[in-house]
Amino acid sequence: MATKSLLTVIDGSLMEGGGQILRNSVSCACICRIPIRVKKIRGGRTKPGLQRQHLMGIRLAEQISCGRLEGAELLSQEIVLNPESIIGGDFYSDVKSAGSVMLLLQIALPCLLYASKISSVILKGGTNASFAPQVDHTHLVLCPISKIFGINFDITIKKRGFFPKGGGEVKVDIEPVKKLNCVSLQEMGEVLEITGVSFVAGRCPPKVLHTMTDAAEALLTKSLPGVKLTINRQQHPHAMDTASGLVLCAVTSTGCYIGGSSLGSPSELPEGTGEKAALELLDSLEHKACVDKWTQDQLILLMALAEGKSVVRCGPITLHTETAVYIAEKMLGAKFEIKPVDPAKPDCKKYPCFIVCEGIGKLNPNFI
């Protein structure tokens, strides 16, 4: 009974109501060694309960934190996690479906920053899946941004995996940190160059690849004349499933990395897919945001853990970010403030804003 009263209870159906609140709260719990109970997991979704990728994610967290996990079954709506210390080492997790490995990494990465040694995680599943950041996005955008926090991690894509079978493999090497540095990304600056990756896989013909990439390039050259554009076109004809996609990343003079991505679908023309990624990127640039909307929420946890005051200028606040802020404030005790860039436009959900965070300066107790 005594331990039960110490449990932090998180209602998983709040706000975004999906897997993100679960991931963030599990990461926070592992880092701070707080036993938690997450109830009503994915309560906001039509099919509530743990899906394979969430299940593998929390099992991975259990392994990383040497903890004890209860109630982790498929479609389970309540789990209890008692984390112990994070040691680090080699980990392996296989989703066995197209569940995104990047979402697994979202749980594992913050935890392993507080390990005692360099860790390496092999993740199997979907690398480029819908409703999740694509592996290239993490590679191109999140990796360099993390460097500002003092994080060193490296992603090696061994094999890509797509919907529905998955089967991709990614190896991530993560170096532990003593503590995280605060960041200040307030000025977007000028776009220096745009890099990107586009791919087709399986039975998707190469024509799709070129049409898609050309459409994106045309749009970008028109909007940003004179910016160097390098998009790596990849073909994976032997992949198990059929897919196509495009990830773009703009590097600015102030060291910001802003992404834009899209996945092809059978109901959409390749031109549309290409333009979607480009428009997403241009939209962020128009807001003069220093991070795109997919990176926003991933930085919240890092900002909360860092020492000192972080300020990040971003576009309109997403629901995922709000959820991440809620969890970081509740579980870590960090102080967040979201203020509009233009005081005349106070609605942060529609207009650009600054995320200001007073981090807790979490020290790595295991760091040698």
Partner: protein, 755 residues
């Protein structure tokens, strides 16, 4: 270098497989068909769960349900939740309600709904009572109360009233019942157990569920009763749970601003000032303001400070853009049905138009002529009416002739009965008997051509499967009503509709109603007032269909289009329902008589009401039947004008000459032209033969027909004809509250006109 086997020239060559019609995917792609990339929707992504996972899931579901129930139970009666409401219902005439109120609530004041705090149970209760014989008060209060206490007395015997109360409440939805007997103290102690068990058996007979009997004579007993009220499991009533409702404790009318202010605890679903509220028996009103008041009976528990909420008053003001309007009917555009061919732009825009907006009858001008030429009516209504008037006249004459010879005594007796009504009744009984014996059969008129007389009817190959366009030739009334594209999804949306306001559920609030006409103030009930918040669209008129079933003791003959007093959810109104069969399929057979023994579907023009909603059908009050009598009960089926109700008639003929494959039939028609007109329609016989008209013979209506087998001489040949029927627009809100003692009457008013 790895070795590979290569086939030589002697390799056996097998015949290639013949695909026939079925191509392989590879074959298809070779022929240049595009590759179908698997879409997400076509793939099954859900996984089958193992035993461990199923068990874990079942455990978790059970646990969460348990937690929910425990949470609700613990929160009940505390601050932030409304008090327990308890309705006292005397089941016998001589029960002193004031005495019982004083017992339950030591500091009792008046007879209105009052809330008090019971420090020993640490819970709050609201008491209200429905005096003996006041059916409407009882029905209204039972709609909103959590628990109902039936009071029995050892002195009185059980009357018909008690049985009526139970049957009516069971149909409307019974709140959690409790039973108590009073006056047991006055019985000598040795007889007490016996008396108690006698009352108990009566209770069990009346209401077999939850029939524990409390005695209610001392304060201790009253306390025990209150405690079981607070602890018992609440029955949930579907209609109530879907609506916000208030049991009013205070009402103030300001005649200058025409504002009626009603106060009480807000229960059920959250109420928004944009919603419309309904006062049962009075009408629909818009809200001008909802404000929270300081709790008149604050919760005095130490753990839950109720004072915090009281300090900051909440005022909710309706948003003009979001507020629901009191407009109940769609605007009729008489030019809508103009029969000139629309231009291309008009055609395009009409295709894009929301399907819920209604198009009027394509030929509204014709409607009036149509009703005149409607061959059905002369026989059905005016025919019998004129006969009625004639017979009444003669009856009265003969009546007066007789009175001279008979004594005063019989003269007095005659005053008690109405010969005109009796005659009508007899005719109805005969008509119903006829309808049972020969369902839907009609005689073909001799003096009129059948093709004119039954001109509006059509034949169907099969009633079940033949198509019938639901939008064809609609009456003008259909232009006034609203239609949903999909009733179920609209209902779901209306139930989940969020008006985006502060939630004041469970608090003591005052609701100010806009534009309350001073005329209606006298109609406000003095003791018990109930307000219901209406869901989105629930003020709009549509065609409502509801299932009904006759209650057993009522033997009245009910025809379609007879006026009925209906209690539908919180509304009371008069309407003339038409009845049809409750059966699957797109067309439903009209029923002339609403008989006992089965479930029928009744259709009326009425405000939209979502499911679940109980319906009580009463006979309307008249001088001879002063109290409304419960006739049938049921529930709402759906709202929408697409239900096709078809009236069927059967024309009958007899065989004149029978051959092996054909027969000569007579008496079905009486002239050659009629036979030619109805020739395409199939014939059926009572013995199951199927056939067709081949040709007319002569000029007197004999016809040669072929059948699948030889006819029997005693067979009857029938031809079914169908016509779509619609209810009449007779919706009239019923405002009067009958009481047991005051003389009865009807008072109906159109509230819409005044507001």
């Amino acid at each position: 270098m790895e070795h590979r086997h290569k086939p030589g020239p002697l390799k056996q060559q097998n015949k290639p497989h013949k695909l026939g019609k079925h191509q392989t995917k590879a074959g298809l792609s070779k022929r240049g068909r595009p590759i179908r990339i698997p879409s997400t929707s076509s793939l099954r992504t859900d996984v089958t769960l193992g035993r461990k996972e199923r068990r874990n899931r079942a455990n978790q579901i059970r646990k969460s349900k348990r937690e929910q129930i425990i949470f609700e139970k613990r929160a009940r009666g505390l601050s932030g939740t409304p008090p327990h409401s308890l309705l006292l219902v005397p089941m016998t005439r001589h029960i002193n309600l004031t005495e019982i109120r004083t017992l339950l609530q030591p500091a009792s004041t008046d007879s209105t709904a009052t809330t008090f705090y019971c420090p020993r149970i640490k819970q709050r209760f609201t008491l209200c009572s429905a005096p003996y014989g006041e059916l409407y008060t009882l029905l209204d209060l039972a709609k909103v109360c959590d628990s109902i206490l039936f009071l029995f007395s050892v002195e009185d015997s059980i009357s018909e009233w008690a049985e009526e109360v139970i049957s009516v409440l069971m149909a409307q939805g019974l709140p959690t019942p409790l039973h108590a007997v009073t006056g047991l103290q006055s019985v000598p102690s040795k007889d007490r157990a016996q008396t108690r068990s006698a009352v108990s058996s009566v209770v069990t007979h009346l209401l077999p569920i939850d029939s524990k009997l409390f005695s209610l004579d001392t304060e201790t007993e009253a306390f025990n009763l209150l405690r079981s009220v607070s602890e018992q499991k609440r029955r949930s009533l579907g209609y109530r749970d879907n609506h916000p409702y208030i049991l009013c404790e205070e009402s103030v009318y300001d005649s200058n601003s025409l504002t009626l202010s009603l106060s009480g605890y807000l229960r059920g679903k959250p109420l928004s000032p944009n919603q419309i509220v309904h006062l049962p028996g009075i009408g629909d009103f818009q809200i001008s303001l909802i404000e929270t008041q300081s709790d008149p009976c604050p919760f005095r528990g130490s753990r839950h400070g109720g004072m915090e909420i009281d300090t900051n008053k909440v005022r909710l003001i309706p948003d003009q853009t979001l507020q629901e309007s009191l407009i109940t009917e769609a605007e009729v555009d008489p030019m809508e049905g103009e029969q000139t061919w629309p231009s291309k732009e008009e055609l395009k825009s009409s295709l894009k138009k929301n399907p819920s907006s209604w198009i009027a009858d394509p030929t509204p001008g014709e409607d009036s002529t149509e009703s005149e030429s409607d061959g059905e009516r002369p026989e059905q209504i005016s025919g019998s009416d004129s006969e009625d008037h004639l017979s009444i006249g003669s009856e009265r004459e003969s009546d007066s002739a007789i009175t001279e010879t008979v004594s005063m005594d019989t003269n007095d007796y005659d005053k008690t009965c109405d010969p005109r009504e009796e005659k009508e009744q007899l005719e109805r009984i005969r008509a119903q008997g006829e309808d049972v014996k020969f369902p839907d059969e009609r005689d073909t008129p001799i003096d009129q051509a059948a093709r004119i007389r039954f001109g509006k009817y059509r034949g169907l190959q099969s009633f079940r499967t033949s198509p019938w366009d639901p939008d064809e030739n609609l009456p003008v009334d259909y232009a006034r009503i609203f239609k949903f594209h999909n009733f179920r999804s609209t209902q779901k949306r209306a139930l989940q509709h969020d008006y985006k306001d502060g939630d004041v559920t469970g608090l003591y609030v005052t609701i100010h109603l806009k534009d309350f006409p001073s005329k209606l103030v006298s109609l406000l009930p003095s003791t018990s007032m109930v307000i219901f918040g209406l869901l989105q669209f629930e003020q709009k008129m549509s065609l409502i269909h509801f299932t009904v079933k006759r209650v057993s003791p009522c033997n009245e003959i009910v025809k379609s289009k007879d006026p009925m007093l209906l209690h539908m959810g919180c509304r009371r109104f008069l309407a003339n329902p038409i009845y049809s069969q409750h059966a699957p399929g797109d067309k439903h057979k009209y029923e002339l008589f609403f008989r006992g023994g089965g479930t029928y579907v009744a259709s009326i023009y009425a405000p939209i009401t979502f499911k679940p909603c109980p319906i009580l059908m009463f006979t309307p009050t008249s001088p001879t039947t002063p109290t409304p009598q419960l006739l049938a009960t049921g529930s709402v089926l759906m709202a929408g004008p697409d239900r096709i109700i078809c009236k069927r008639i059967k024309l009958s003929g007899h065989p004149f000459k029978i051959h092996r494959r054909s027969a000569v039939i007579r008496y079905m028609f009486f002239n050659r032209e009629d036979i030619m007109w109805f020739k395409p329609i199939q014939l059926r016989t009572k013995y199951g033969r199927v056939g067709n008209i081949k040709e007319p013979l002569g000029t007197h209506g004999h016809m040669k027909c072929t059948f699948d087998k030889q006819l029997k001489a005693q067979d009857t040949i029938l031809m079914s004809l169908y016509k779509r029927v619609y209810p009449k627009w007779t919706y009239c809100p019923y405002l009067y509250q009958p009481t047991s003692d005051v003389t009865q009457g009807e008072l109906t008013m159109e509230t819409d006109r005044e507001t």
